[in-house]
């Protein structure tokens, strides 16, 4: 496959996944803003969402304070924020258009229809009480795209690069969402404030129900961390994402007669750490340190994949 094609497939999946993750994070933040202003600083939730989405420096250059309106503008519409929902869809569709023939018709239509809808979106559709509906729509469109890819793509290299993009982005997102709440997950208190945050951490990866099904018990910060990092059953856990990343990279290498590089080694190393790591060790090391390490290595892995398959 052409390197440029692989690059576009990888990035269109990353941007699509990112749009869904931002929508999920924003949904949780709105909910929190509704219940937590009295618990917490006025804008703490918006601040941590900006940190989690990784664009806070750009935000503060442009907006005076993290009010709800400013953050929504930044995370949904602002063309200066490449990880915002509209710019993500735009970038995904631009990449898709450049590799039209590598996509199935269903994938193309999922992206193209979303983009056509967003292009004609009236500003009030993301205001006030209508915002949650809009965010729900975004999540549905992302799921439609993922479903289209899952159901219609040949299990060849193109599929592997698409899914690799989705999984790498998802791993990064889970690590970041967990990290912004790391102090609340390690303080050990059981006050009302912490409890709301634990719920929020689970909700932001759509895992609140999953927690109850896995543990049949009340929320506990150590279990939340375990679920989101080490439990393979949860599709958005770090280990689930990394198991997929390793398998996909292996699949690409196998189809090319075993050609491997640093990206394969690095993915294996991160996966091994999650697979054979102990929860106690994570807490001993420090949750923040552990998550920072994962976030940094994930970014490195993205770079190594590009170096080996795209910029070679």
């Amino acid at each position: 496959m052409l390197s440029r094609t692989a690059e576009s497939l990888f990035w269109l999946a990353r941007y699509t996944e990112r749009a869904g993750n931002v929508a999920r994070g924003l949904g949780v933040a709105i909910r929190m803003a509704g219940v937590a202003t009295r618990l917490n600083g006025e804008d703490a939730e918006w601040r941590s969402l900006l940190t989690a989405t990784g664009g806070d420096a750009g935000f503060y250059r442009k907006y005076p304070a993290p009010t709800q309106d400013a953050v929504v503008q930044w995370l949904v519409h602002d063309p200066d924020h490449p990880s915002g929902i509209l710019p993500c869809f735009e970038a995904a569709r631009r990449n898709a258009r450049a590799v039209r023939t590598a996509l199935t018709v269903d994938m193309w239509e999922a992206l193209n229809d979303s983009w056509n809808h967003l292009r004609a979106l009236p500003p009030e559709a993301t205001e006030g009480e209508r915002l949650p509906d809009f965010l729900g729509w975004v999540r549905e469109r992302v799921m439609l795209f993922n479903g289209a890819a899952q159901d219609t793509m040949l299990r060849e290299e193109a599929w592997r690069f698409v899914h690799l993009g989705t999984m790498l982005e998802r791993a990064d997102n889970t690590a970041r969402l967990l990290d912004v709440r790391h102090h609340l997950l390690t303080s050990g208190g059981e006050g009302g404030v912490d409890y709301v945050h634990w719920q929020a951490a689970l909700r932001s990866v759509s895992a609140l129900r999953a927690y109850h099904w896995v543990y049949h018990d009340r929320l506990d910060p150590r279990r939340i961390v375990e679920l989101l990092t080490l439990r393979p059953e949860l599709p958005r856990s770090l280990i689930a994402c990394y198991a997929a990343v390793v398998e996909l990279l292996d699949g690409i290498a196998l189809a090319q007669g075993g050609r491997r590089g640093e990206c394969h080694r690095l993915a294996g190393e991160i996966h091994a750490r999650l697979r054979f790591g102990r929860l106690d060790a994570i807490f001993e090391q420090g949750l923040h340190e552990f998550l920072t390490h994962i976030i940094t290595r994930t970014a490195e892995l993205g770079g190594e994949i590009e170096r080996f398959y795209i910029r070679a």
């Binding site: 052409l2 390197s3 440029r4 094609t5 023939t101 290299e157 795209i310 070679a312």
Partner: protein, 501 residues
Amino acid sequence: MAGSAAFDEMNGLDGDVRGPYAEIARWLRATPREQLYRKREEAELLFRRIGITFAVYGEGGDPERLIPFDLIPRILARSEWEVLSRGLTQRVRALNAFLADVYGAREILRAGRIPAKLVTGNELYREQMNGFTPPGGIYTHVCGIDLVRTGPEQFHVLEDNCRTPSGVSYMLENREAMVRLLPRLCARHRIASVSRYPEELLTTLKSAAPSACKGVPTVVLLTPGPFNSAYYEHCFLADEMGVEVVEGADLFVQDRVVFMRTTAGPKRVDVIYRRIDDEYLDPECFLPESMLGVPGLMAAYRAGHVALANAPGCGVADDKAIYPYVPEMIRFYLAEEPLIPNVDTYLCEREEERKYVLAHLDSLVVKLAKGSGGYGMLVGPHATRDMREEFRARILARPADYIAQPTLALSTCPTVAEQGIAPRHVDLRPFVLASADGIRIVPGGLTRVALREGSLVVNSSQGGGTKDTWVLEDDLVAAVSAEPVRSQSQSQSQGGGPGGC
């Protein structure tokens, strides 16, 4: 002159329905207008969903817009097509012979049959091609010849497109649309298939591979990218042929060999079907600031390590100033008389002809010698006085840039218009594939239709539309007006049935 006197391909000159259109005329009589309009909406939806768009820049509005598709097919009888096919073959052979000659021995210039200045002084002449023979001696592998019709037997070549002609995807998609939208109408005709075009193109491209290439040649299509107006076509053709669509940055040259960057490492490329213009091919050889091309490509080409289709420098054969001499080429190289005549053409550069043109601006069509796409054109009978005066000034300022032709009464075909079915002017662009072992033409081509009443400009950039073009396998309609015997039950497979669409 134009308009009322035009030959209608369905109703002829006397109003009697011509043979090939018998079934269409019956169908049009039997179909309520609302149903036609509904089908037209379905067609638009179909094209929009598939994403067949044509980008037109500098006009605002939707940058990915649809070329309107007209439901009523344009039909040619087998006997008509055979004459055209022979004429097209002859013309493309002569054009290739001409290119080989002007970049080689230059016999036609030495024989004084074409003024040397028009060729070697032409801005489309590429010095870089001197003394180099492309594989198989073929220069223009894919050629689009624009034909117009003025009477039952009267076809003319309006223009040759020897460089990177586009539109063939519409020929294929229009047929696809017809089979989906009007399967029964298709089934009542025996329509010659066009679906082999991508295969024929791939065969042509493979046969263009350098002789040094052993094994199955790796073919790629080189596109300027998604912002090009024909990008959809580039992807479509590559997909149909099963070859990669590459941009300049996907290719690199090492030791005068061309490689593409793939996820499995560099892969050697043997044949490049390039859909970018000469000037952008190689910044080391042509425009140094070009970002679209591949540095070192021409050196690899001249070393015989890669083939380019079409070859650089083909523009000197389709230039409008060279066009009047194509009949002369046919006589010179093939010792034959042209089977499809040219349209009379006046070169404003020549004093006598310029005087004639300036005195007859109200009846002539004036075109830019280097222009394409219907831009910078004056249709005398339809122009205002101010427009004619503007062109007069322009011609006087730069006579060599302009040519003029009589305003032809282009033939018309019935077309779905707002007020019902009405005759609209059409032209035809068949696609001719040339390789060392012969010429291949799929029967038909792209019919373009001027949708505005009385308009003679069919270019898609100027609001023209397209029609499916049917060449009938036999001159009699297959199954006279009866419905197909088989019922339209669920057991019947989708698609064309016996029509061979």
